[in-house]
């Protein structure tokens, strides 16, 4: 069993990461989940105005589930993240457990935070991918659209699709890199 460091506090690899992740997961993710549910609702009500309402609704539903899971995972991660200032604030003048012990706990909890946080990032990224895919499907013009209208919608569809594919490729590459790193470490 590996020894948990007992002489130092764990520090995030990027100091701004905690704020950045919390903004993405607790501000952006709920808004995007709500947007996905809204779009799925529109599809359900006005399906005849879209080319493929069924697949778009499916993608939007998966997207909403991914974003909600991201919020939950990030919540679980955040409960494990603390720094010495938090401990000072909470314990105040009451007797604190020894720093050696607190450092070990913070190091272990930091690992849990990292693992949960990574999961939240993955869920968020795949949420963005399904949102983009669903939007692209929703943007494709219905069969009865005028040609000018159809050109604009296909162009919008292609634009969203390219951006989505870039996010998907980056997310998949990151997942492969992590898997490779884990395999090399073990």
């Amino acid at each position: 069993m590996s020894q948990t460091p007992r002489d130092r506090w764990a520090i995030p690899p990027k100091i701004g990461y905690v704020n950045a992740a919390q903004n993405a997961h607790f501000v952006a993710a709920p808004l995007l989940a709500a947007a996905a549910i809204g779009i799925a609702g529109v599809m359900a009500a006005d399906g005849d105005k879209f080319r493929w309402p069924g697949p778009a609704m499916l993608l939007m539903t998966v997207c909403a589930v991914l974003f909600v899971s991201c919020i939950q995972s990030s919540f679980n991660a955040a409960t494990h993240l603390f720094n010495p200032a938090d401990l000072d604030a909470w314990y105040g003048t009451s007797e604190k457990p020894p720093d050696t012990v607190l450092m070990q706990i913070q190091q272990r909890d930091f690992q849990i935070w990292k693992s949960s946080s990574r999961r939240a990032v993955r869920l968020y990224n795949w949420g963005v991918v399904t949102l983009g895919s669903g939007t692209a499907v929703a943007l494709s013009p219905p069969g009865n659209a005028s040609s000018a209208h159809a050109v604009c919608r296909w162009a919008a569809c292609a634009f969203v699709l390219v951006a989505t594919l870039r996010v998907a490729a980056a997310t998949a590459t990151e997942a492969r890199r992590r898997q490779h790193g884990r395999r090399n470490a073990s």
């Binding site: 020894q3 939950q72 457990p97 012990v101 070990q104 706990i105 999961r119």
Partner: protein
């Protein structure tokens, strides 16, 4: 995939649960790792099973007595 939010943890309990001989913190089970105390390499209480130490951790004397008892019985590690 996350399956809901997790409430099942008590920081204060964990922060007060440590080996009285080396201040090795109690680490609950996580990610395939069994629950254990983070003892230093030369801590006498390393030979005690986690469950035993969880029962005795608030008394250094009780831990030393248990270590001595197990040593006299020939125990060299947690069973």
């Amino acid at each position: 995939m996350s399956y809901g939010v997790d409430w099942d943890d008590d920081f204060e309990d964990r922060a007060r649960t440590y080996c009285p001989l080396c201040q090795g913190a109690y680490m609950p089970e996580w990610s395939g790792q069994e629950a254990h105390f983070g003892h230093t390499g030369n801590c006498d209480a390393r030979i005690l099973p986690t469950r035993t130490l969880l029962r005795l951790y608030d008394s250094a004397t009780a831990v030393r007595e248990e270590v001595a008892r197990r040593r006299s019985e020939g125990s060299t590690g947690p069973s």
